[in-house]
């Protein structure tokens, strides 16, 4: 019965994670302290995934008669299966079948989640590799943007390629569009992305979206975390000495409203409102969360991950 209690608790954590994600989507505090909010989002994703897999596996191993958590039950079941006992002794066949089905579902979910994570990472690495190859043939430096590569194209583009050999890239269209201080703001924003490896922060959400393309909560969560990551990079950029929030804001405004006529066919526009949110945040900044509140968020994130882990290992 112990394992069944674990299963119920783990299922509660999984459902709770989804509910908390919905609450986080509506909350306004994340924009005040994006770093803390992103940490909580990561914890929600990790806890939700662990708990969902754990609940299924816990049902699968219930009736093994061990006291060492879901993983202990799994070990006991493994031993039994190794001796060729598919159906546990003195247990109804139907119950055992349900357990095996739950176990199978748990493993499938686990494999799928890990699989999409690896795939998303591999795709990103490949796309960056192709970009590097093309940049090596096409891009050049420019004294206006020290340290960045310039691509000869009239459309405004500015981005970075994260990784070990990270690189910031801007188009000639961007150089023509922005004033020197605004270019500094763009470079500072991109350097913040590279330094903090924001791409790794987003990868779990990219892969979740790939695993559940129809889930609206996951799609919205992805967009929300992506926006928080941009806000965090905006905050870091403003630490550059002499850079004004207004310069970053006008850079954003000029960049976002640059005529997309010059863009090659196939490029698409962003979700409504994200740019406005970033500009508003720069022009009318709100104070970050008090330190105590930030600490509470970090603690909540730690607890959220610890609970399913403890249930899996000891309980």
């Amino acid at each position: 019965m112990r394992a069944l209690a674990d299963a119920v608790l783990l299922a509660a954590v999984a459902v709770g994670s989804v509910r908390s994600a919905r609450a986080m989507l509506r909350a306004s505090w994340p924009r005040r302290s994006p770093a803390a909010a992103i940490l909580l989002w990561q914890a929600l994703g990790l806890a939700g995934g662990l708990a969902a897999v754990g609940a299924l596996v816990a049902i699968g191993v219930s009736g093994q008669g061990t006291r060492t958590g879901v993983l202990g039950g799994l070990a006991a079941l493994g031993t039994r299966l190794a001796y060729g006992q598919v159906f546990a002794p003195r247990q109804p066949v139907l119950l055992t079948s349900v357990r095996l089905a739950a176990l199978f579902a748990g493993f499938t979910l686990f494999t799928a989640l890990c699989g999409v994570l690896v795939m998303a990472f591999a795709d990103a690495v490949n796309a960056r590799g192709r970009q590097r190859e093309l940049l090596a043939l096409l891009a050049h430096g420019d004294p206006k943007v020290p340290g960045a590569l310039v691509v000869d194209h009239p459309a405004a583009a500015a981005y970075c390629l994260p990784g070990i050999r990270s690189q910031i890239v801007v188009s000639v269209g961007t150089l023509d569009l922005l004033a020197p201080a605004e270019l500094t703001a763009v470079l500072a924003h991109e350097r913040a992305h590279l330094r903090a490896r924001h791409d790794l922060v987003l990868i779990p959400f990219t892969s979740l979206r790939r695993a559940f393309p129809r889930s609206r909560v996951i799609a919205q969560s992805y967009r929300t975390v992506a926006l928080l990551v941009e806000m965090m990079a905006d905050d870091h950029a403003l630490r550059v000495r002499g850079l004004l929030a207004r310069e970053l804001a006008t850079a954003l405004l000029r960049f976002g409203t640059a005529a997309t006529d010059a863009a090659p066919a196939g490029a698409m526009a962003a979700a409504e409102g994200e740019l406005t949110a970033r500009v508003n945040r720069l022009l009318t900044p709100q104070p970050p969360l008090p330190r105590a509140a930030q600490a509470a968020v970090v603690l909540a994130a730690a607890l959220l991950v610890a609970v399913p882990l403890l249930l899996l290992v000891i309980s």
Partner: protein, 132 residues
């Protein structure tokens, strides 16, 4: 231009290939380069470019002739498409500064921008006025 690293070499050779419409032999490519390089070096780099898919080679009697697989503009367009594409699974590959908006949001933001610019102009005028 001094061509030293392998990447620079590939780039210089692609420039030569992009300059003409016809397929070039290794010797013709060598002659088009700004500095003298060993025949085998040029051949090796052309071979690498062919393996990467940037150059195509075709037989011409006993020699190979090379031409670019796509125009320079096509490769720039490919780069920019990845840089500007804002949906899809490639999202995690690059971190973009900002995404472009359209419609009503763009209009509202353009108004905000001109408001900010006016503010800046009046402040600058105020500064210089103060100094005078």
């Amino acid at each position: 231009m001094i061509v030293n690293r392998l990447g620079d070499l590939e780039r210089a050779i692609m420039e030569v290939l992009w300059q003409t419409d016809s397929a070039l032999t290794v010797r013709q490519v060598s002659n088009g380069l700004p500095q003298n390089l060993a025949h085998t070096t040029v051949m090796t780099v052309l071979d690498r470019l062919a393996k990467k898919g940037f150059a195509r080679r075709e037989r011409d009697g006993r020699a190979w002739r090379y031409r670019p697989a796509a125009t320079r503009e096509a490769y720039v367009a490919e780069l920019m498409l990845t840089a500007l594409a804002q949906t899809g699974d490639r999202d995690a590959a690059l971190a973009r500064f900002a995404q472009s908006v359209s419609g009503t949001e763009a209009e509202v933001l353009l108004q905000a921008l001109s408001g900010l610019e006016e503010q800046q102009v009046s402040e600058t005028e105020g500064d210089s006025g103060g100094r005078l």
